[in-house]
């Protein structure tokens, strides 16, 4: 565990040495907030509630879902440069490097979420629940991001080139975040897509976080399906599934990995 923290520390040190990375990883979500708040938001009809209240949880979830990209890219680069080989030749636990990396990405998420929350407050976002529920919402976001990060480990260690890692992730995560209730009501989608959107972990996360931030369930609860009714439970199930699947696979991959 101590070894993992050293790896985490290295990653945070990188952020100090190259602050641009931190700046750019926060600028993108902030731009999304502004775009949807002021450009698309006007065209999306949400009777009874201010769009920005629905939007912020959506963007929070989208941002932490993309942790998978950060993790994958970071590890793919380390592998290309031979750093993973060096780490593997050291007398440290086999899980240290990947645990350290995922913890580092989780820490980065904390920073990004704080910046986004401040941006949200500036553009009119006002969560109406208690402080504990709000904190629980953010905790849920961080845990979801952490689980997604493990998927990134497997991707990052499996691709031959860090650029491929980026494309793979975008191909997968981008539709996943849009095929959800994050930005617009799912009721506007064709029927089959509505079902997909309903069961999409991003949707359950968004609905769950909205719930914790004090919003009535709406914006896509098209049917009385289980995920629409119990978004928090489903989110926790998805998080558990992600971890149960990807943690062992990733650690095993790391043990046998070899640069391509």
């Amino acid at each position: 565990m101590k070894d993992a923290l050293i790896i985490t520390k290295r990653q945070l040190l990188q952020l100090f040495r190259v602050p641009e990375v931190l700046i750019f990883s926060t600028i993108q979500p902030v731009m999304f907030v502004l775009l949807f708040r002021y450009v698309f938001g006007g065209a999306i009809n949400t009777p009874g509630v201010d769009y920005v209240q629905l939007l912020m949880p959506g963007i929070f979830v989208q941002t932490v879902a993309f942790t998978v990209a950060g993790t994958a890219l970071g590890l793919a680069e380390d592998m290309q440069k031979g750093l993973i080989d060096r780490f593997r030749s050291l007398p440290i636990a086999r899980s240290a490097v990947v645990v350290g990396r995922t913890l580092g990405d989780a820490t980065l998420n904390v920073v990004v979420l704080v910046v986004m929350a401040i941006t949200g407050l500036l553009v009119g976002w006002r969560p109406s629940s208690s402080i504990f529920e709000i904190l629980a919402g953010f905790l849920l976001l961080l845990i979801f991001g952490y689980a997604m990060s493990w998927m990134g480990v497997l991707v990052g260690l499996s691709v031959r080139d860090s650029r491929v890692a980026n494309s793979v992730v975008f191909l997968f995560v981008f539709p996943m975040t849009f095929l959800s209730n994050a930005f617009a009501p799912t009721t506007g989608m064709p029927r089959p897509l509505q079902y997909v959107a309903e069961w999409n972990p991003v949707s359950t996360m968004v609905a769950g976080v909205r719930d914790l931030f004090g919003l009535e369930p709406m914006f896509g609860a098209t049917a009385n399906s289980f995920p629409s009714q119990n978004p928090l439970v489903m989110s926790l199930v998805y998080i558990a599934l992600l971890m149960v699947i990807f943690i062992p696979l990733s650690v095993r991959k790391y043990k046998n990995v070899s640069p391509k």
Binding site: D3, I6, K9, R10, L13, Q14, R17, V18, K81, G82, L83, D85, R86, F87, R88, S89, L90, P91, I92, A96, N256, S258, P259, K260
Partner: protein
């Protein structure tokens, strides 16, 4: 003296059994390195050098075979092996965004030095590798030679008993290579057992006590630099002179070397085997000068790796084949 590294019949195949592109990277490779000596693994790209290092440094499990490092079974107790080895690869495997100092501290901590211990060791190594001035700069700004030195420093943090250097000078300019050789020679005096891979006969010659030549995953020759050179015919002295002086030059060099010289009329060259190397060169120059002959050019040609390969295997280094085939880029290297 006892053996510090032993590899027995290592086999490693990439690409799986069914795959017809399967590459047999190691094909029954065996070698032994005595404690405190330097062994150079010499071979072209794709011959299995890197794979051998990866197996011995616990990064890769062979399909079959056995290996021990400092008496520890590599396959059974990899973690114990990791405690006592240092590895420096083909790429400078350090974090480029961090400074040299940051890197050494990080690796020091990962080797379980205390915070203070890691700092002291980092300072010591930076000093030793003439990197103190660059310590606080990010690695990105380093020259190729500096990166390699830092990479090497990182592999020496816990004073390893056994050190693996995989092509430590590939891609360096002549000056960087020279500096690297000096550093390595210094290390060797400190008593470390070193296994080093290289594509350059000259490098093996400079650094190694024993050379093992490998090709297609197995050992094709071994011995000292001298004995290998003898196998491939050793150095040759080549002298370019004006046509009318050629026969006289030929007489002179044949007298000095006691062997038959050849004349190549096309390029006005006289060529002769020169087992005495530079002393033959000096003596020849002296005699030519005394005879009033001033050659247009005179050179000692060392046998290249290609010559060694040609002599040992009857075929040119795989590198060239690989480029023509180009279907499996780099794969065979691992």
């Amino acid at each position: 003296m006892s053996a510090s590294i032993i590899a027995e019949n290592l086999v490693k195949t990439y690409g799986g059994g069914k795959d017809e592109n399967a590459v047999r990277a190691l094909d029954g490779l065996s070698l032994t390195v005595e404690e405190g000596t330097v062994l150079s693994l010499l071979g072209p790209n794709g011959s299995g050098k890197t794979t051998t290092v990866r197996v011995l440094s616990t990064l890769l499990r062979p399909d079959s075979g056995r290996a021990t490092v400092a008496g520890i079974d590599v396959l059974a107790h990899p973690q114990q092996v990791r405690e006592i080895i240092g590895l420096s690869g083909q790429y400078a495997a350090v974090d480029e965004t961090l400074t040299g100092w940051d890197n050494l501290i990080m690796f020091g901590r990962l080797y379980h030095l205390s915070g203070r211990g890691a700092k002291a060791r980092a300072d010591e190594l930076l000093e030793k590798f003439s990197l103190t001035d660059a310590a606080k700069r990010p690695i990105k700004t380093y020259s190729g030679g500096m990166r390699r030195r830092l990479d090497l420093a990182a592999s020496l943090i816990v004073k390893p008993k056994v050190l693996f250097l995989d092509e430590p000078t590939t891609g360096l300019d002549p000056r960087g290579r020279q500096e690297m050789w000096e550093v390595i020679n210094e290390l060797v005096k400190g008593g470390v057992t070193l296994l080093l891979t290289t594509q350059y006969l000259e490098e093996a010659d400079q650094l190694a006590d024993e050379i093992v030549v490998i090709d297609q995953g197995h050992v094709i020759a071994k011995g000292t630099a001298d004995s290998l050179k003898k196998d491939v015919g050793g150095e040759r002295l080549e002298i370019s002179v004006a046509a009318e002086q050629r026969s006289e030059v030929r007489r002179i060099v044949e007298r000095i070397t006691q062997s038959a010289a050849t004349e190549d009329a096309g390029v006005h060259k006289v060529s002769v085997a020169a087992p005495g190397g530079t002393s033959t060169l000096i003596e020849t120059l002296r005699e030519l000068d005394a005879a009033g002959i001033h050659p247009l050019d005179i050179a000692l040609k060392r046998p290249s790796l290609d010559d060694v390969f040609l002599a040992l295997t009857g075929h040119i280094a795989e590198e060239n084949l690989e480029t023509t085939a180009n279907a499996k880029p780099k794969r065979g290297k691992r």
